[in-house]
Structure formats: structure tokens, C-alpha cells
Assembly symmetry: C2
């Protein structure tokens, strides 16, 4: 039998951060920034309030911050909560090869840990990159059969990433790291059936909580299998119908999965991103306002109408499944963030008036990442836009400035502009921090918001 | 799609305890007694010490007892620890149809909960029976394909049992119980690869911890799927290749899975129980001592030699995989409890001398539950014994007195005989207690042991 778990454990334990190229480190900082923004942005969401109401009373030493809030919890509960908040909007990062949202499980576990056991930003970023590497390589090994069976891979693979990163910061030995990955394997869980319920964001949170638990147990020599991943009754065989374990062990340290990470510019399913992108481009190029527009006609990939064909959404969440609403807000606001998917926005007369002038038809010649837009103006002109790759894709990544703008949008109403700016700076500079936990503490609003949350 | 999760939830929420026959209630008390004994018995084990060393520092309000110890932890960590201790010796109860060890996940969750939120023994026993019912019916629905894939069914099904029983005591509504079962489904985990490591007893502990978490979250309306068990991407499809969901919903309240529960008289794999049983019978019938015996010859099912063929075990754990050692201690001590599988006992010259005079051969005509023993004595006599069903099987259950004797053996060295007797009484009378948590508190030793553990 191929040695997989131990080889991965050895890599995580022994790797030196000097071997990581600068562009990989920068991508890690981008991922982290985006993750912090998502976590702060959803920190007042009902999902979060209910989980806190259920669990805060059971917290141990209140050592770690729930990002964006005054609540402090023990590190395992804080890891759980930050994993939940960061995925509540489904607006966090995506490793497109596996559809894993990599940052949630990993960053939630180690940022909480860093508040208990201070580490430098350099150590933190390194552990983050290694955790994402473990998580995504394990995902690569079992994708797509694992996902097709019905597993929510962010939960199932995420627990390994959290264990790996936390174990690295705890200074586990190779044997302990092997056990930590085994303890993670035997907690791997999360069903796709839960999509559309509060259990979806629960998955990265639970992966963070349980991965951290795995690392803590292994650190006290709580034993596990040495072949938790590769054994006939281990993770890769039990949770997938097909697998390629070489994806985990080959060229470790030579390629970095975090380089393949992407960020969503829009707070909705990825299939309508090309349409939103194209509408925003036309709006900005021609300085359009809604009242100039006679009609908008979209030609799109079949999945767009299959998944997002709601003509008259009534609530914010429904708006995310409406290409019509999305195109309308793209023109009116030049954005499609959480604010554009609020109940109020979906019912706004200006929005519904334009939405009703949007039509969409299937063009089977288009890829998922493409759209063809024809906009008829009241002055008789017709504007055309073909989007080859939507912004946010690997081919057209969001710029650092895009990510900052997204971050600011997410923090609006929770942090002051000054606080937001400070937090952005800390995220970019995370590798230079003497104490990585500073980021968590800087995510907490002062002043009025402080009182409201306290 | 058949309504499964909601129907089960409705049953758990609405059932009246009056409908449960007295013999079912008595079997529940037997299961509970046996579970408490196992938990106390292993409460000083290295597995437990390491888990406590890793996790005790993260405990929230110290409201619940780790059975047999002075440590108190928050209810989720106490549930985890008691699930671990009770399965550490692999000496707890077995639902033979599914090989689930049903009590661990359920009792660990609700006994901890009962120390935070006092409930009568009547409510406690009822919730225990309902939790076991949910857990074992879900197990029935997916066994054996689920187990064959590689899942440790005590973990995977156990989390449902813990959620159901805890949810019942928390007074969840039907909708909340449906969500609790969904939150349990999406945490269902535990791999058979972990057998032989500390992760095996971790599984019922983790099921208890996570089932309790599920019930607490659902109690605050944290949403989940309404079809967590039966949906195409729900538990029964994702974690099994075949399933019969009617096993969950048919005749609810008419039959009781806990009636099918069994208890191990001997602290080793079930395949050598017939041999031990037969040797003890001969010993007692003829008042035999080791020095009277020339040789012991066993004819057994092929699995006995395949799984327990170690001729010269050197350590306690190896002794459990030696039919030779087991037959020897059966004759010498009339027992095969944890004490007979200590390192010291395995190396005891009197034991090894007799062990070396034991031989075993395969008889393919025998069932797994049978053995044919021929014992040659130094005085020339030959004694024969055929065991049709080993003690502890459904056909020849341990008597209440057997269970008490086992309990006393487990508590030896941890509780005083007086404390043990008191605890046994409380377990038998659990349904009459005003406060079920009393059992947990009565498991804690006073005096010398108190100091040592404190």
C-alpha cells in the first residue's frame, strides 16, 4: 500500500516557508483578506445568531474572537463560528478544481488558535498555505466521485486542512501529525443534501472545530490509524467511489493549490456571474442609468436558466436565483453584493421595473463562463457585449483593488470606514505581523456597533 | 419520496412512555447498568487520560461528571469523555443485528445533559429507549452495506441516537427534532480503519458530543434539511450502497430495538466467548484447578483460529487475541474480564503453563456460537463440554446477577464495594429517581481515590 498519510504529515511538519514563491504568498494573503471580509460581513446574520444562542453558554476560556463581533469564545467554538460566518453568504473563495471553499476550515481553526497561542504572521500564513494544500490535494484525490456521491467536500476535505494547519502551529511531530490526519479522517462529514439550509455554512465551521480537536488530541498522543487516508477502510475508499492518491503525494512543495484559488465578485451562484459582469461593464462604459434602458436581452448557457430562471423573485434569497434581478441590479448599482440581494432591494420598484425588461434565452454554443448581452436603449441605440470569461474566474481574476472593494462592501454597517481600512491593511500585511491574532481583534467594531453587539 | 426523517422525529417527540412494556424497560436498565460499569471501569485508562489532557482546558461550565472520576466538564465534553470511556474496553452492549454498541452515544449525551437540566429517571430512561430506537432503526436500514463500505456504525448511527434522546429531553418540537436529525446526519462519521487505535472509542464519544450539539442547535431553530436521512444526497444514500428505509418507519412504538441488546461477559472478541464459557462451566461443575489438568483440546469455528490464534501472547491486548490464554484464565479464574487481560496476567507463569497445554483445531461443522471442549485430567478422566450458545448471546443472555458481577469486576480498584453497590442500585432503580443525574454523581469515588484523581 502506498504511504500517503504519513508522507503528507511529514511534508506538513518539515516544510520550510522559504520554499514558497512570492506570488503564492500573495495569493494566500488575497484568500485570507477575502475570508475575513466574508466572516465580518455575515457576523450579524440569523444563522450566526442562532448558533451563538445555542452554544455560547457552553464556551470554555473565552480566548478567541468571533470576527466582527464582541463575542469571545473558546478556540473550538470560535473556530466553529468563524467557519459558519465566513460561508453564510456563500461568498468566500473557491478552489474551482474541486469546488472546495478552502479558507473557511483552515483560517477559522488557526486564527482562533493564534489567539490562544500567539504566532507570528509569517508562521500563520505558512500554516494557512500548508492547510489549504493538504485540504485541496485530498480533494483532488477524490474529486469528482466523492462530490458526486453527495459529500459537501468543503466539510469533508476541510477537516484535514484544519487539522494540518493547526497541527503545524502546535508543533506536532510527524507521528502526531499522522494521527491528527487520522483523527480528522474519522470525523470527515457533511452532506450536500444540506444545501439551502443553515447546515451548509455549518460544514466549514464544523470542519474547523473538528480539525482543531484532531490536532489537540494528537498533540497529547491520542492515537489513530497511520493510514487514515489510504487504507481500504480509510477516507479515500469509504467516502469516494474512485480516487487517485498520487494527487496527494506527488510534487509536494513544488506546486501550490492556493494558486488556483478564486474569489466571487458577486454574492450569487457562479453561473450568472458572466451576465452580471457584462451588464456592469456596459453600465460603466456608457454611464447608463436604468431609465435609459428599453430592454436587456441575454443569451446564456443552459444552466443559467435552469438554475437561476426566477422571473419575479419576492425575497432576497430568491433574488440569487434570478438572472433577471441580477442583471437589473448590475445596471442600477454596478454591483451584486449582499446589499443587492436584500429583501428590500428585490422588492424595490426601480429594480423590479428594470428586471421586468430583462429577457434571457439559451445559447447552446456558449460555455458556462460566457454570455452575450444585447441592450436596447430608449434613444434607439443597441449596445452589445460578449463576455468570454467572467470576472472572478481563473482567466480573469479579481484584482487586489476589486477584493478591497468587495471587502468594504461586506464590512459596511458593521465596521467604520477607518476600522475597515485598518483591517484590510492588516490582512495584506499578515505575514509581517508579530502576532497574527491581531487580525481577529481588529475585526471587532468599536463605538456604536460595539454597544449594539455587546 | 417516503417521509422518513419527519416521521421518526414525530415519533420521538410524541411518544408516551406508558406504551413501553415492562420487560423493555428492564432491558433498558440492564443496558444502562452495563454501560455505567464499562465507563467507570475504563475511567483511568491511558486513552481517557490523553483525551482529558488535550481537552479539559477547553471546558465550559463544569456541569457534568466524567464517570468514575473527579473531573467535571461542560456537557459536550463530558458526553465525549463518557462515550470514550464506555467503549475503551470494547466491553459495552451490542445490538447484534447491526453490531452497533447502542448505549455509548445515547447515554453519554443524555446523562451529561441531565446534570445540567435535571430530569426524572422516568424521563431519562424513556429518552434513552427512544434514542436507542432511532439509532438502531437507522442502523437496521443501512446494515450491512453501510458497515461493509467501512463505516463504524456505532459512530455513524450513534449520532442520531444521541440527537434524538437529547432532543427529547430538551423538549424539541417536531420541526426542531427533524432538524436535529438532519444536523446529526451531516455529522455522521467514523471509519472502521480506526479499529485498534484510540479512535475506536472516540467514535461513540464523538457521536454523543455531536448529537448533543445537533439537539442544542435545533433547539434554537438552526435549520437543516427536512429529509436528512432519506434524500438522494442524505445519510442513507451517501453512506450506504443499499438501504431499506422502512426499517426506520414501520411499526414504530410496536417493537423495541433495545430488546435485542446483548452484553459481553468476557472482555475479548465474541468469537472466543463459547470456549471461555465452556471452560468456566467445566471448572465450576468439577471444581477444577489448573494443576489437575493435563491438556485442553478445543474444536471451534474457523474464525476462532483466524482471529484469535496467538499461541504466546506477550501483552494484555494480545491476550484478547489468544484463545489459548483465554481458555487458561477461564479455568484458573473462572472469569475473563479486564483483569485477566492485563500484561501481568498474560505473563503469569501459572497462566502460561496452562496456556501451553491448550490446543485448538477447526471444526467446520460448528457455528460461530458453538465450541466442543475435551479436557484431559491428570487423574485419567476426560471431561467433555459442548456449548450450543455462548453466555451473553441472545439465546443465553447474561442474568441480572451476571451483569452485577461484571459491574463489580469493572469497578474494582476504582470504587469501594459500598460505592459500587450503591451505584448498582441506582442503575437498577434509575426510572424511580427524582433526578437522573444522581447516577453520574454516585459514580465518583470518595476517599483515597478522590485524592488521587483530584
Amino acid at each position: 500500500m502506498m504511504e500517503v498519510t504519513r508522507k503528507l504529515a511529514r511534508f506538513i511538519v518539515e516544510h520550510h516557508s522559504a520554499g514558497i514563491p512570492q506570488e503564492v504568498r500573495h495569493e494566500a494573503a488575497r484568500s485570507f483578506l477575502n475570508w475575513v471580509g466574508c466572516a465580518v460581513g455575515a457576523s450579524r446574520h440569523e444563522t450566526v445568531e442562532r448558533a451563538l444562542a445555542a452554544l455560547a453558554g457552553f464556551s470554555g476560556p473565552a480566548e478567541a474572537t468571533v470576527l466582527g463581533r464582541w463575542d469571545k469564545l473558546d478556540i473550538m467554538l470560535a473556530a466553529l463560528m468563524n467557519g459558519i460566518t465566513s460561508h453564510t453568504f456563500d461568498f468566500d473563495d473557491t478552489h474551482l478544481k474541486t469546488v472546495i471553499h478552502p479558507s473557511g476550515p483552515v483560517a477559522s481553526a488557526i486564527l482562533a488558535l493564534a489567539e490562544r497561542k500567539p504566532v507570528t504572521g509569517e508562521e500563520f500564513l505558512h500554516a494557512f498555505i500548508l492547510g489549504v494544500e493538504a485540504e485541496c490535494r485530498i480533494g483532488n484525490a477524490v474529486y469528482p466521485s466523492h462530490y458526486d456521491v453527495g459529500w459537501h467536500i468543503t466539510g469533508t476535505a476541510g477537516v484535514f486542512g484544519a487539522a494540518a494547519a493547526a497541527g503545524r502551529l502546535l508543533g506536532l511531530s510527524e507521528q502526531q501529525m499522522t494521527w491528527a490526519l487520522g483523527i480528522a479522517a474519522t470525523q470527515s462529514s457533511g452532506l450536500r443534501e444540506m444545501f439551502g439550509t443553515m447546515c451548509k455554512p455549518f460544514h466549514p465551521g464544523n470542519a474547523a472545530r473538528n480539525g482543531l480537536l484532531a490536532a489537540l488530541l494528537a498533540g497529547k498522543n491520542f492515537t489513530s490509524s497511520n493510514q487514515g487516508i489510504e487504507a481500504p477502510r480509510g477516507f479515500a475508499h469509504v467516502l469516494a467511489t474512485d480516487r487517485n492518491l498520487k494527487e496527494i503525494t506527488e510534487k509536494l512543495g513544488e506546486s501550490w493549490e492556493i494558486s488556483l484559488n478564486t474569489y466571487k465578485p458577486f454574492a450569487c451562484g457562479i453561473v450568472i456571474h458572466p451576465a452580471i459582469d457584462g451588464c456592469i461593464q456596459l453600465r460603466n462604459e456608457h454611464k447608463l442609468t436604468a431609465d435609459q434602458i428599453e430592454s436587456i436581452s441575454l443569451k446564456a448557457h443552459p444552466l443559467v436558466l435552469e438554475l437561476t430562471g426566477k422571473k419575479t423573485p419576492q425575497a432576497g434569497l430568491e433574488g440569487k436565483f434570478s438572472v433577471y434581478h441580477s442583471a437589473a441590479v448590475a445596471v442600477i448599482y454596478g454591483a451584486a453584493g449582499e446589499a443587492q440581494y436584500s429583501d428590500a432591494c428585490v422588492r424595490d420598484p426601480q429594480v423590479t421595473a428594470l428586471r421586468d425588461r430583462v429577457s434571457a434565452t439559451v445559447d447552446r454554443g456558449l460555455h458556462e463562463d460566457q454570455v452575450r448581452i444585447s441592450m436596447k436603449l430608449k434613444d434607439g441605440r443597441t449596445l452589445e457585449k460578449f463576455v468570454e470569461h467572467a470576472v472572478g474566474s481563473l482567466a480573469r481574476p479579481m484584482t487586489d483593488a476589486d477584493l478591497e472593494a468587495k471587502f468594504r462592501g461586506l464590512c459596511e454597517g458593521i465596521l467604520s470606514p477607518l476600522e475597515t481600512g485598518n483591517l484590510i491593511r492588516l490582512c495584506w500585511d499578515v505575514a509581517k505581523l508579530k502576532d497574527a491574532g491581531e487580525v481577529a481583534r481588529a475585526s471587532v467594531p468599536a463605538g456604536r456597533a460595539r454597544k449594539a453587539a455587546g
